[in-house]
């Protein structure tokens, strides 16, 4: 039997013996799990509680009485009375041996280095590198399961040569980096992707020592259908897979469970925090909703959304032509004065469906009781075609997310779950794995359509009609013959429909999922009717999906003018958003709460905005609202669960942290300023209490039980918008889409999302484009309803023929061409007929110019320097040759240059490693270690940089000293080369010692040989030359019979410090090169200040060479650590160095 994860509490308990101890465990679990339940440690790297046993790492070998050899704890099922030994000498020996084998394939020199503690203490900046070449260079340092195990099993030596695989680290995707050089092939990611997510994007490729993880057949992750859910990243035991945004944050301080604020599924998430700030998000294994799974937004986009540099954190008032940051009292004072004495129709408050229940309730309370108006409206209305009446009816039906996985028949309508609602997609695939039948109704190809044998492909807009036909067949009792005319009008093949019905009728548990696009184009409320009808069938659950995280709450809590909290009707409904958009009303004051449903400032006297980002147009007053990370509250999910949002960031107000306040709090403060009655709410809980008093069905505290809406009176459905239909036009589908949150498109704040927003523009089937003579990327003009709208066209093979898809995002701003689409957003209804024509010459025939050429043309200034060569010479170290004739003419050994990777980049000092005055080129070796060097590492030959100044610094002292030992480590191997060469030419006997953690990190031996009496190698893991650290220097000198008169050392500060320590005792003068600590290079910034022989010196102008015995290393190393957190910042923010 294969061991299975046991969830059921009623599994029989059996008795077994582990390590001569009688213990008990549930029947059917693996030996590994049984041991774990009894707190007995068995090492393992490939097993994972949510995944099937793999048996790849072989570390969990145990001995079991009566079983041959060494069975694996992860794949052996316990049996009554089983006698297991987990820690015998043989097992320990085997495990150590196997672990050594793993380490010989993993850059692990740090693990076996005797100096690792001191290194961790003193060498801080190495983390943040592009390629992990050791633990100190690895984002997972301190959180690595392999590291922990090595320490626990006490492996201190690797008896085998260490292989480095030399793969190019993969940084090209938006959300996580992959460095398969450090992969141990445990297969957790592959199993996660295949077994749990059901997507099979990841697989094992190739065989033998070339075995690698990745999408098969050389596809990219995007091509292979990766959902970027990050589930693989979460289970990776090493640093192979790492979040781009938080990879250099290190171990988090802790985590709290909260609710994802991005959609109405309400997934439970773990917020990891570091230094009081949100660092990263992991899924919570909550069995009610997401069961340890998330989508790309929840997994990767939360920190960026709340931390983005564009966050608006201070109150702002318009003063004349300018916007001024002001204090809260001042801002409240002015806004209160504007709100006083307004007639009910002179104000309109527009509220986002992403606010918490508390803020929604407070908003309507403020408008209704303080401003005595019913002029409040929510953009939630846009997500609810058919109006509140229809949705109130739908929310009264049994809605369940978890039922999908247990259903044996599923109907999915108009849903692609790749980047949105992907947890629902996981549930569907989970059901399919158990043998469920899936019927997909979608004009478009989608990730769910790919899993079904019953893909019904109606004309866009006919999804509802098809669903009704299915509903009739499934609920009507006796089987009816399908009406041919009804079927024909949908465009679905009758035979396929019959087969789908046939497949569905035998099912017991039915789940129906409907995506937002299907609702949007459903011009006759067919879907609503069909769902009501289907719900009459027993054992049926539905899952209507829409945009907006708290739309359900918005409906219940009175932010629609005509409905009070609890869905009570109001007679005087006030001004609505539609009134304003369509020009029927012109209120004096607009109060936008978490929403900016306009591209340009709407026509009115005074606009107040209250949000986490400023709207894309000018407002008169802006209140900074607290983000989901900064305030408590509750959100109501699609099932009616009232779920907690936790305040994780509680930093004091200040210039950098800002002055944001929860929305409900701001309304209270305004009420106070207006002198209106307002309960003294101290926290969100008190607001929720009042909601509970006013709305009987609403809980008084967060309650995760699903809650069907109890309707006392029925609210009529809105009149449907008839679809406009032209004689021979394309069907234009305005679909809800984009990655919205609180009125902004998140792709504006989270750069990675804009890379996933592949669907921007008009999407047509490639054949349609071909027929029209349009190339993908051409600007096309769409004629619809008398409007002409221009935007780029995109070939999308998922689209049906004769249709044009375009996003009607509920958020404005964001991607550049959105604005040109604005007229479309004002159209009523989502299904229209349109004509498509090409504007200007088509690019269909002309070849696209390479993007890099464009980039060069733009960046090449009058004084730019051309890159001749930039290649990774050994992992993380780049050989970098620049055309700079003046520098090449004047440079001397020991000099450095200062460059900037781009116009906005910081100054980077690089030691010169070689030069060619004839060719006018200068070569340096640099270590990729932070944001700026990451930028450098992206340059290609032919690219240019704007600044390349030098030579700088004093040249190295060159004379005939006799015997000189040149020590180079890391980039210093390159920088010491010209010094060694000059010393050799000056008549010295030069010995060279190259130091590195492993043989694959040493280079240029062949350059040193002709100028050296001997080239000595020293590696931490002994993979070549001497084994150990520079502290062995004295011993090596004796063994090699070298008596140096002078030692010169270039490399990391730790190497130079340690060398100085050793040589002080030997009494040999030692010169160190302090280049790595410079920034400015002109003596102005003072960063490279250090104390040498009791005097303050600047490395850039007084050095970079100093006597190592005179440097105050202790002071120096303390100073070096000051800006550690700041150094990580630029790497975290997407849009800066997000690709490295």
């Amino acid at each position: 039997m294969t061991p299975r994860p046991i969830r059921a509490k009623d599994a029989r308990t059996i008795a077994i013996e582990i390590d001569h101890r009688m213990v008990s465990c549930p029947e059917g679990v693996s030996v590994l799990r049984a041991a774990e339940l009894n707190s007995i440690f068995i090492p393992s790297l490939c097993s994972h509680k949510d995944l099937s046993p793999f048996g790849g790492c072989r570390l969990c070998v145990v001995e079991i009485a009566g079983m041959r050899g060494y069975p694996l704890a992860c794949s052996t099922v316990v049996g009554e009375g089983m006698k297991i030994l987990t820690d015998t000498t043989t097992l320990r020996e085997m495990r150590r041996e196997i672990l050594e084998l793993i380490l010989s394939e993993h850059p692990s020199s740090c693990l076996v280095c005797g100096e690792r503690e001191a290194c961790r203490e003193n060498v801080h900046t190495v983390r943040k590198s592009g390629v992990s070449t050791g633990c100190r260079y690895c984002p997972n340092d301190g959180q690595c399961e392999l590291q922990t195990l090595v320490e626990r099993l006490g492996v201190t030596e690797i008896h085998y040569p260490v292989y480095y695989r030399e793969y190019e680290p993969e940084h090209e995707d938006a959300f996580f980096d992959r460095d398969y050089n450090i992969c141990i092939l445990c297969g957790r990611c592959v199993r996660m992707c295949q077994e749990v997510r059901g997507t099979s994007v990841l697989a094992f490729k190739y065989r033998g020592p070339k075995t690698q993880v990745g999408p098969a057949f050389g596809r990219t992750h995007v091509e292979a259908g990766c959902e970027f859910c990050g589930a693989c990243v979460s289970v990776c035991p090493t640093g192979t897979l790492a979040d781009k945004a938080s990879k250099w944050d290190g171990q988090p301080d802790g985590l709290v469970v909260s609710t994802c604020p991005f959609c109405a599924l309400g997934c439970q998430i773990e917020l990891h925090h570091k230094d009081g700030r949100l660092s990263r998000v992991h899924p919570h294994s909550d069995p009610e909703i997401n069961d340890g799974q998330l989508c790309v937004r929840g997994r990767f986009c939360l920190p960026e959304t709340t931390h983005n540099h564009a966050r608006a954190r201070k109150p702002v008032l318009k003063r004349g032509r300018y916007l001024r940051e002001v204090s809260w009292p001042e801002a409240l004072e002015e806004v209160a004065s504007r709100l006083e004495n307004l007639k009910p129709e002179e104000i309109l408050m527009i509220v986002s469906p992403d606010l918490t229940n508390e803020s929604l309730y407070a908003a309507q309370k403020f408008v209704r009781s303080c401003l005595k108006s019913n002029s409040i409206d929510s953009t939630a209305r846009w997500a609810l075609p058919g109006g509140p009446g229809l949705w109130a009816d739908l929310f009264s039906l049994p809605i369940s997310i978890r039922s999908i996985a247990h259903a044996d028949s599923i109907i999915a309508v108009g849903l692609d779950s790749r980047f949105s609602f992907s947890v629902a997609g996981v549930e569907v695939r989970r059901a399919l794995k158990e043998g469920a039948t899936l019927v997909t109704i979608d004009p478009r190809d989608s990730n769910l359509a790919r899993y079904t044998r019953h893909w019904l492909r109606p004309l866009p807009g006919s999804e509802g009609a098809v669903l009704r036909i299915l509903a009739e067949s499934l609920v009507g009792g006796a089987r009816k013959r399908l009406s041919r005319t009804a079927v024909d009008s949908t465009g679905v093949d009758k035979r396929a429909l019959e087969k789908a019905v046939e497949a569905l009728v035998s099912g017991k548990d039915l789940a129906v999922i409907v995506g937002p696009t299907a609702f949007a184009v459903d011009s006759n409320h067919e879907i609503g009717k069909a769902l009501l009808q289907l719900a009459k069938r027993e054992r049926t659950t539905i899952l209507p999906l829409f945009q907006g995280a708290n739309t359900r709450g918005a409906l219940e809590l009175g932010v629609f003018g005509e409905l009070l909290p609890g869905l009570a009707k109001v007679k005087a409904r006030g001004v609505s958003l539609a009134d304003v958009v369509e020009g029927r009303a012109k209120p004096k004051v607009l109060y936008l709460v978490g929403e900016s449903p306009f591209f340009e400032r709407p026509e009115c006297d005074y606009v107040i905005a209250q949000d986490i980002y400023r709207p894309p147009f000018e407002v008169d007053a802006f209140f900074p609202a607290a983000s989901f990370a900064e305030a408590e509250g509750t959100l109501t999910n699609v099932e009616g669960r009232v779920q907690q949002i936790v305040k994780i960031e509680d930093l004091p107000d200040g210039a950098s942290t800002g002055y944001a306040r929860p929305d409900w709090f701001i309304f209270g403060a305004l009420a106070e300023k207006l002198g209106r009655a307002w309960p003294p709410f101290k926290d969100a809980t008190q607001v929720l209490n009042e909601i509970n008093e006013k709305v009987a069905s609403f809980p008084a505290s967060p309650d995760r039980r699903p809650r069907r809406l109890q309707l006392t009176t029925r609210i009529p459905w809105e009149k449907p918008h008839a679809a406009t239909s032209g004689p021979d036009g394309h069907r234009l589908i305005l679909e809800p889409g984009g990655f919205r949150h609180r009125g902004i498109d998140m792709s504006f704040a989270v750069e990675g999302l804009s890379e996933l927003a592949l669907e921007e523009g008009f999407r047509l089937h490639p054949d349609d484009l071909k027929e029209l003579g349009i190339a993908s990327g051409d600007t096309v003009v769409l004629g619809v309803d008398g409007l002409d709208v221009a935007a780029p066209a995109k070939a999308d093979p998922d689209c049906p023929r004769g249709a044009v898809y375009v996003h009607r995002p509920f958020a404005y701003g964001g991607l550049p061409h959105r604005k040109s689409l604005e007229p479309l957003y004002r159209l009523r209804g989502s299904l229209h007929s349109a004509t498509v024509s090409c504007s200007g010459p088509s690019h269909a025939q002309t070849a696209a110019r390479p993007a890099s050429a464009d980039r060069n043309a733009e960046s090449r200034g009058p004084e730019s320097y051309r890159i001749v060569e930039r290649r990774m010479i050994v992992p993380n170290l780049h050989e970098f040759t620049v055309e700079a004739p003046q520098v090449a003419m004047a440079v001397r050994p020991g000099n450095f240059v200062i460059l900037r990777p781009d116009e906005t980049g910081e100054r980077v000092p690089l030691s010169v490693a070689d030069w060619d005055p004839k060719a006018g080129t200068v070569t340096s070796i640099f270590l990729q270690v932070g944001a700026s060097t990451a930028k450098l590492a992206r340059l290609r030959p032919g690219d240019t940089i704007p600044t390349y100044a030098g030579p700088l610094g004093k040249e190295a002292e060159i004379a005939n000293f006799g015997t000189v030992l040149c020590i180079g480590g890391c980039y210093g191997i390159g920088s010491i080369y010209p010094v060694a060469r000059a010393l050799h030419e000056a008549g010295n006997t030069v010995y060279t010692l190259l130091e590195g953690r492993s043989r694959y990190l040493l280079y240029w031996q062949e350059r040193f040989r002709p100028i050296s009496a001997r080239v000595i190698e020293l590696t931490r893991d002994g993979s070549t030359g001497y084994k150990g650290h520079i502290s062995r220097l004295a011993e090596i000198l004796t063994l090699e019979k070298i008596n140096p008169d002078r030692i010169i050392v270039n490399g990391c500060t730790f190497l130079m410090m340690r060398t100085s320590d050793v040589t002080r005792e030997l009494g040999v003068k030692t010169i160190v090169n302090m280049n790595p600590i410079m920034i400015d290079g002109t003596g102005m910034c003072g960063v490279c200040r250090l104390t040498v022989a009791g005097k303050t010196r600047f490395a850039c102008v007084d050095g970079p060479d100093f006597d190592g015995h005179e440097v105050d290393w202790e002071e120096f190393l303390t100073r070096r650590k000051t800006y550690n957190p700041e150094e990580v910042q630029p790497l975290r923010r997407s849009g800066c160095a997000s690709h490295y």
């Binding site: 048996g55 790849g56 790492c57 394939e105 092939l185 094992f204 033998g208 070339k210």
Partner: protein, 623 residues
Amino acid sequence: MKTLEAQRDRAIQAWHELENNARPLIYVGAGSCGLAAGAAEVIEAIAGYLAEKRIGADILKVGCIGPCYLEPLVDVQMPGNPRISYANVTPGLVRELLDSFFEKGDVYQHHLVGHFGQNGFKGAPKFFEHAMLARQVRVVLRNCGVIDPDNVDHYLARDGYRAFEKCLSMRWNDVLDAIKNSGIRGRGGAGFPTWRKWLVCRDTESDTRYLICNADEGDPGAFMNRSLIEGDPHSVLEGMLIAAYTIGASEGFVYIRAEYPLAIERLRSAIARMRELGLLGNRILGSDFSFDIKIKEGAGAFVCGEETALIASIEGRRGMPRTRPPFPAVEGLWGRPTIINNVETLGTLPNIIRNGAEWYSQFGTETSKGTKTFSLVGKVRRTGLIEVPLGTTLRTVIYDVGGGSVKGFKAVQTGGPSGGCLGEEFLDSPIDYEALAAVGSIMGSGGLIVLDKNTCIVDTAKYFLNFTQAESCGKCVPCRVGTRHLVGILERISQGNGEISDLAKLERLALTIKGGALCGLGQTAPNPVLTSLKYFRGEFLAHIIDKRCPAAVCRDLVHYRIIKDKCTGCQRCVKVCPTGAITGPRSEAHNLDMSKCIKCRSCYEICRFDAIAGDAIVIESGA
């Protein structure tokens, strides 16, 4: 119930007519071995000859009859004469050969191997008394080279499908008993008693059971399964019917590597014939038994011969083994009980059922019953496909059947890359499962690679390890990383950079891999190293301590020298040297410039001037 009797009677009739033919009949060995040796061209030449001379004769393409080193084999059977076999027939020889029969009416005397008659024939030897064949017992190979594999009537005429029909009249447990009593054990290598595996499968409750024929023969130098399928596909398929009937399987798969196109073609056509005869499909021959066979082509990964990897491959997943238990007999293909039997095991079954368990168990030893086919290859005079009773000694196989090595026997590698290297002292040990395991090797599927004195043990071990490390699926650490390090150490030794501690390292690592690897590939991969270390330690030490390769194979340890006294200046080596390292005028002793020599061995191979004694160019090893 329907029977095949009528069909069989007709077939027997036709077979007799063929045997006592009125028309001349020409057999050509057209298995892969024959075709590789040029059988296709020979057939063309024969057809051309017959057309030209307007002779009404039939050409019969048969499978491999065994002595592959004699291919292409062409047999001529004139009316009234027995079938007479000729070896190494080239297209150029065809005219002379056939002229002798058709023009002169004589038996051609050159290239003669033997005749198939019962009695003596004009002084020609009997084919089956040929040195290579005399000691063999042909059970599973009885039809190979005798019948046209594409003609099911030939198979029927030779009692084909009689065993299966007999099974249909038996209860499944009686069939199982017969298999049990025969003592046959899995011929794929592990030697697990076939009946026991079957019983586990049959006893596991399930709605469906599967049978898989493992034809993923991947050992370098092994071709038993290929030859059997090419020569007699129906015997394997009949075996599948018998196995499926016994275990209650409803669907069968032949998992065969795509590199065996001819075998696949033969199988396809054989399966089509079976369908015509009603031997596949629903209610076979009117019984309650329904069964069908599909062919699944493997892409040639060695590990896919491992049963769990093979199952994964059929299921459409990556061919990667999983831990056992559960064994496939309990949880196999698509989670259902599945039996995987080797081609040879299945091919043997009809013989057991037809002739009885006792008949079969007369061959072999106490624990290893029956006969076993081997691919006898390497540095041995007579290479080819052989079948001998288990318990036959290695000496009999290598010397009597194989004729020994030209340059002196050194060792034999049994069981392919998973087996071990056994030296002279083991020549008298019998070939059976236990005896081979006792000395650290395995039976394997039947590869026998003979090494002679010119073969280096370190180099051979390195070759096999290189193979297994490249073929590792990469899943488990000991196999993926461990074998790579084994190769690394062996490489170091063969380059003369070995240290004495490397031997201990090799042994330690080999044992870790053996004990720690997930599947049979990894667990047996170190066998070549372990056995050669055990039995040929001296040769390793020579490499490490003396920096010398006794067989003069390891390139870094050898150098070439011209013996001036022996060199006649014939210039052959000068011409063949790719780097111009050998110079010198004709008729004068040549010079070899070692700085230019790349040790390609060409001069050594071509130097045949042994007028005085031995070669003029020698390879010497050592510092």
